[in-house]
């Protein structure tokens, strides 16, 4: 981030403490959808990352993945496989061909329902010695994905997940508050989730596909950050429209604006529908262009994805060998 942008003290290493609810800020929000779409649409044309730079970016993308399974038929077996893939995301031979045997690569986190935390925690405990950077354990919570359970139940769910070892809590916001313009209620709700999360990092899912307008996306982003969110996240993966570059652009510009005003760096997590290496590069370009290299790190950027890793791994094999890969060649997650 350019130093000239910083109007308040930089709090790089501080966790977002949030701030009092400030409706004036929301009143000033202006989003021009056509202009946003134009910018989002031209990002992929403006930057092209090739050769070893592309390999570097794809490896970076892997370290930013929240490897996710959020299905009704999840079982401990499924989750064990996922966690092992998270700790060994790229086949050893590929890394060797790239002369990177020593690279201790893992995904940013795994992301599961509360019921799978125990299993996941057991496996990931190994990563705390094995991987350079321990794999985070994220739980979706607070009545995911609809977020319509009673508030005490949602808070209790967060408490339980934190107790079960979750280091990151992905909650959904009450869309009804956003859709009815009751921003104060949204603020209070997210505040209470933040308190419940304790040391675990709070990711607030806006479910942007259900917010109706980009203006609502911007306002919801700002309210969540005011209320102490560590990350803002686009989607549950269950809405009919998931992460788009346009929605992401609105959200990352809100992050920039919050940084300008408070000095806190908030993370961003696009989720749902991001499944190709090319998608991953586009999102990384968005982060680099709008926020800077700091926001391309797992501390401030995550992909919520399940099949993305497979495509990246194939691209890496191609980069390493010059031969197009096939999905069966790489261990599934």
């Amino acid at each position: 981030m350019d130093a000239s942008l910083i109007m308040v003290a930089d709090k790089t290493n501080e966790r977002n403490a949030g701030m009092d609810f400030n409706p004036d800020w929301l009143a000033k929000v202006q989003i021009n959808r056509s202009a946003i779409e134009r910018r989002a649409g031209s990002l992929g044309d403006r930057r092209s990352i090739k050769k070893h730079w592309q390999v570097a970016w794809l490896l970076q993308a892997i370290s930013c993945i929240d490897l996710t399974t959020l299905a009704g038929d999840d079982t401990p077996g499924r989750v064990r496989r996922l966690c092992n893939k998270a700790m060994n995301p790229v086949r050893r031979e590929i890394l060797s061909s790239l002369d990177l045997e020593d690279l201790e690569l893992s995904t940013g986190a795994v992301c599961v329902y509360h019921g799978m935390l125990e299993t996941a925690n057991q496996i990931l405990a190994r990563s705390r010695g094995q991987n350079a950077r321990p794999v985070g354990l994220a739980a979706v919570s607070a009545g995911f994905p609809a977020g319509l359970n009673a508030l005490p139940l949602r808070i209790a769910e967060i408490d339980a997940s934190v107790a079960a070892g979750a280091t990151e809590i992905d909650i959904v916001i009450s869309r009804r508050h956003a859709l009815s313009g009751n921003w104060r209620a949204l603020y209070d709700e997210v505040r209470s989730f933040r308190e419940a999360s304790g040391e675990a990092h709070l990711k607030t899912i806006l479910a942007t596909g259900e917010l109706g307008t980009l203006r609502n996306v911007a306002k919801a982003s700002i309210v969540c950050m005011m209320a102490g969110a560590d990350f803002i996240k686009t989607s549950t993966g269950k809405e009919s429209v998931n992460a788009t570059l346009a929605v992401s652009l609105v959200m990352v510009r809100c992050i920039r604006s919050y940084f300008e005003d408070t000095g806190y760096r908030i993370g961003f997590k696009p989720a749902g529908g991001i499944s190709t290496a090319k998608d991953a590069l586009n999102w990384l370009v968005l982060m680099k262009e709008e926020l800077g290299v700091e926001w391309m790190q797992p501390e401030l950027f995550r992909f919520g994805a399940s099949s993305l890793l497979g495509d990246i791994e194939r691209q890496l094999e191609h980069a390493a060998t010059g031969i197009y890969s096939a999905s069966y060649r790489n261990p599934m997650g």
Binding site: D2, S4, L5, M7, Q30, I31, N32, R33, S34, A35, I36, E37, R38, R39, S42, D45, R46, R47, S48, I49, K50, K51, H52, W53, V55, A56, W57, L59, Q60, L98, D99, L100, T213, L214, R215, R253, R256, L284, K288, E289, V293, M296
Partner: protein
């Protein structure tokens, strides 16, 4: 793999060069030497006339091309002349097929065109690939359609003949398409000269014409510098000149072609405002600026080069803007991750540098992006994105076109002040308006002097939407229905005859004792009858040579006063079309009441028979009704541009029109010109016919009683050509219509070069004003209006 580890640390973009192998192959196939494309074949110039064309990013010579001399221009024009009649007589469907074939072929070779364009011009490959070339293709498709529809949609019109077209170096192939597609669709043939820095894509296009089996001579491409261009625009056997380029050269072409009868369109310079209101989506507006001034290295005639930002948000806006500038990547145009490529030539670089240095010396604060310029580049290739703040409208950099990646910024307090600053330049090409308030956006758009207005967007172009400017940005439109008129002429015009030498006022011999010699006809200025400034009068004789009265001898001060009165009558322009129609009907009504008197004057002074005089009065009244009828029906269009939004082609009054009335059919002549002009909201200064100077005094009494606001119509009497010269020179006059002799037509066109006002002259040819085909119609309304295209993307 050290590189990989380094890349993992920095997460840089690295390099992503586009291959130039195919382009090199194409150049080699031609031995890197090109001649001209004439009559379907390449004709090599002599070695003596060859010059080098370079890649501006590296200085490397790409090829040698040839300078067209007089002989080459002659044979090219002759080839186009031979091909024209047959081309025009092809069924529209056939001409459309050729244009369609050209579009398909360019599409097939799109990457070759894109890479060649970036190599020759220095623009980023991203822009040529996703901007220029797709627009070129779209232009040919769009006009393939017009070729087919021409017969039914423009049945009163025919091709002009041979068009000489001169295009600039900033969008070489795109400007070629904008020129050639409409010309061919309308049945013209062309000789086109690309700019000397960037001729290669035009020569590749010539090959496409061969592949499309376009008939020989329909498209001819000659290369060379301004001297070749001047030979082309001055050639006696072309009937149309279309020029895009600098205002200086445009002015020269206007002078050169004055009186020649060549139809002229000029698309010239600009200093377009980019207006940001405090309720804009600020980040999007900043991104808009990237597309406005850091597009094509800022070498764009319609570049949003003057940022006008509301004072309260200016500091924050500038801070964010500087931060955005630092992300821009300047470098090898062939690199896919580059935002700004090379400046087209060291000469241009020097010019940019000189203007910026002068701006800083005058007190501007300069900020240049911190991003690295490529190392190992030849001097003069690259210029960093630059922002000048602390600029005042009196500073040179706020007024002069810099034509580089340099943005100047000024602040304003209110919407009215934003408009005033926006219009405070000699140019009027484009404008961008950024606000989330639709009331504000749609209020400001009509007030800005420009041919194109982009609301919450910038630099949008499309074949279906006209592009072009006002004031010193030139005239004419390219694209859409409005653009076709520039390559067509009314069929009847070919048959008009030159007038007999002007009869003027005969010397009075003696007074007719029966007449009211003591009547005092005056001028009519600002709704008042005024005496001539000169204090002189001229005698008016009747058709028998007897003294019929005296009228004032107008001079330049009378014109000055009349223009001043017209300037003040601006509320007429904002009146509704309905109320203007009502005034015209009322005018007709009152004229009807006075028609015996008017007819009497026509009989007495012009020697008309009673019947002929009455007919002229009747037709004049009809004509007022005709244009009153049109008032609220000659309205705008919504073009089908490929955006989610509307593109409104708004017909706006030209402003102040100076009109020299024809001598023949004096009453009908006055009314046939006055009615369309004022009904569209213009204010007029008319030099009334000296063949019957007394008509004016009756007319102004009618105007006085018909609710025509003072200053809307001003009537001056005197020597037509002397007064027309003052009107043609006058900077406040937006358009001049001249119906007189050839000499006066030449004078008017030449004099208009200074202000670059639109002109409409008759070259001494006489219309039959009583014939409805010649004396009325939409062509008069087109002369009364400017088309402003307002792009309004929407979506919440």
């Amino acid at each position: 793999m050290q590189n990989l580890r380094e890349a993992m640390k920095t997460l840089d973009y690295g390099v992503a060069p586009e291959s130039t192998a195919q382009v090199s192959e194409w150049l080699e196939a031609h031995g890197r030497v090109f001649g001209h494309f004439i009559d379907g074949e390449f004709i090599n110039g002599t070695k003596r006339t060859q010059f080098e064309t370079r890649n501006p990013a590296s200085g490397e010579v790409l090829a040698k091309i040839s300078q067209a001399d007089k002989k080459i221009v002659n044979i090219a024009v002759a080839a186009a002349g031979r091909a024209q009649a047959k081309w025009a007589s092809l069924p529209g469907f056939q001409r459309g097929r050729y244009l369609y074939a050209i579009a398909r072929l360019i599409q097939k070779h799109s990457r070759l065109f894109a890479v060649l364009e970036s190599l020759d011009n220095g623009k980023p490959i991203r822009e040529s690939r996703t901007g220029d070339i797709p627009l070129v293709i779209r232009h040919f498709y769009h006009h393939a359609g017009w070729a087919q529809l021409l017969e039914s949609e423009f049945s009163d019109y025919e091709a002009i003949g041979v068009a000489g077209q001169i295009i600039p170096w900033n969008f070489p192939l795109l400007m070629l398409a904008w020129k050639i597609a409409p010309a061919l669709a309308c049945g013209n043939t062309v000789v086109l000269k690309p700019a000397e820095y960037t001729s290669l894509t035009a020569l590749l296009f010539a090959e496409i014409c061969q592949q499309a089996k376009l008939p020989q001579g329909v498209v001819n491409i000659i290369t060379g510098d301004g001297a070749s261009g001047a030979l082309l625009s001055g050639h006696p056997d072309i009937q149309k000149v279309a020029f895009t380029g600098s205002t200086v050269v445009g002015r020269r072409i206007r002078e050169q072609t004055a009186g020649s009868g060549k139809k002229l369109t000029l698309e010239l310079g600009g200093k377009s405002p980019f207006i940001v209101f405090d309720d804009a989506d600020m980040d999007s507006a900043i991104e808009g600026l990237v597309d406005a001034i850091w597009f094509n290295q800022g070498q764009v005639c319609c570049a949003g080069s003057r940022l006008l930002v509301q004072e309260g948000i200016a500091d924050q806006f500038h801070t964010r803007l500087r931060s955005r500038m630092d992300k821009l990547r300047v470098g090898d145009p062939l690199d896919k991750s580059v935002d700004l490529g090379a400046i087209v030539d060291p000469v241009q670089h020097e010019q940019i540098d000189r203007l910026v240095t002068e701006g800083v010396a005058q007190g501007a604060s300069i900020y240049q992006a911190t991003g690295q310029l490529p190392d190992k580049c030849p001097v003069g290739s690259f210029y960093p994105p630059t922002l000048l703040t602390g600029v005042e409208s009196s500073d040179m950099v706020a007024q002069e076109e810099i034509f580089g990646p340099v943005l100047v910024s000024m602040t304003y307090r209110t919407p009215a002040e934003a408009v005033a600053l926006a219009n405070n330049v000699r140019y009027g090409l484009a404008a961008s308006i950024w606000t989330e308030n639709i009331n504000l956006a749609l209020d400001i758009a009509p007030k800005v002097h420009a041919g194109v207005v982009w609301i919450n967007c910038t630099n949008q172009f499309d074949a279906a939407t006209g592009f072009g400017g006002v004031k010193e940005s030139g005239y004419g439109r390219e694209g859409g229905r409005e653009g076709l008129f520039e390559y067509l002429k009314l069929r009847f015009e070919a048959n008009l005859k030159t007038a007999n030498p002007a009869t003027g006022t005969r010397l009075a011999v003696k007074a007719d004792p029966s007449d009211d010699i003591d009547k005092t006809p005056k001028f009519y200025v600002g709704g008042k009858q005024v005496r001539p400034d000169s204090g002189y009068s001229r005698a008016v004789s009747d058709h028998k040579g007897q003294l019929a009265g005296f009228v004032g001898e107008g001079n330049r001060k009378d014109i000055r006063n009349a223009v001043e009165a017209a300037r003040k009558a601006s509320s007429w322009t904002s009146a509704t079309a309905h109320s203007r129609a009502q005034v015209l009907y009322y005018l007709a009504e009152n004229m009807s009441a006075r028609q015996a008197e008017l007819a009497g004057l026509l009989q007495k002074i012009n020697g008309y028979s009673r019947k002929r005089a009455q007919t002229e009065c009747q037709l004049s009244i009809q004509r007022l009704f005709y244009y009153a009828a049109w008032a609220d029906k000659y309205d705008g269009d919504v073009h089908a541009a490929p955006i989610r939004g509307v593109t409104i082609a708004m017909k706006e009054a030209s402003g102040i029109i100076g009109i020299a009335c024809p001598e023949e059919q004096p009453l009908l002549g006055i009314i046939s010109l006055l009615a369309p002009a004022i009904v569209m909201g213009n204010r007029v200064v008319m030099v009334t016919p000296s063949s019957n100077p007394l008509l004016a005094s009756v007319l102004y009494q009618i105007l006085d009683t018909s609710d025509v606001p003072g200053g809307v119509v001003n009537l001056i009497q005197g020597d037509r050509n002397t007064l027309s010269k003052t009107l043609a020179d006058h900077y406040e006059v937006d358009h001049i219509w001249y119906f007189g002799d050839q000499e006066g037509s030449t004078m008017v066109e030449a004099a208009s070069a200074a202000s670059l006002k639109r002109t409409w002259v008759n070259y001494g040819k006489v219309r039959n004003w009583a014939d409805n085909e010649q004396g009325q119609g939409q062509s008069f309304l087109r002369q009364s209006t400017e088309i402003k295209n307002i792009w309004v993307p929407y979506g919440e």
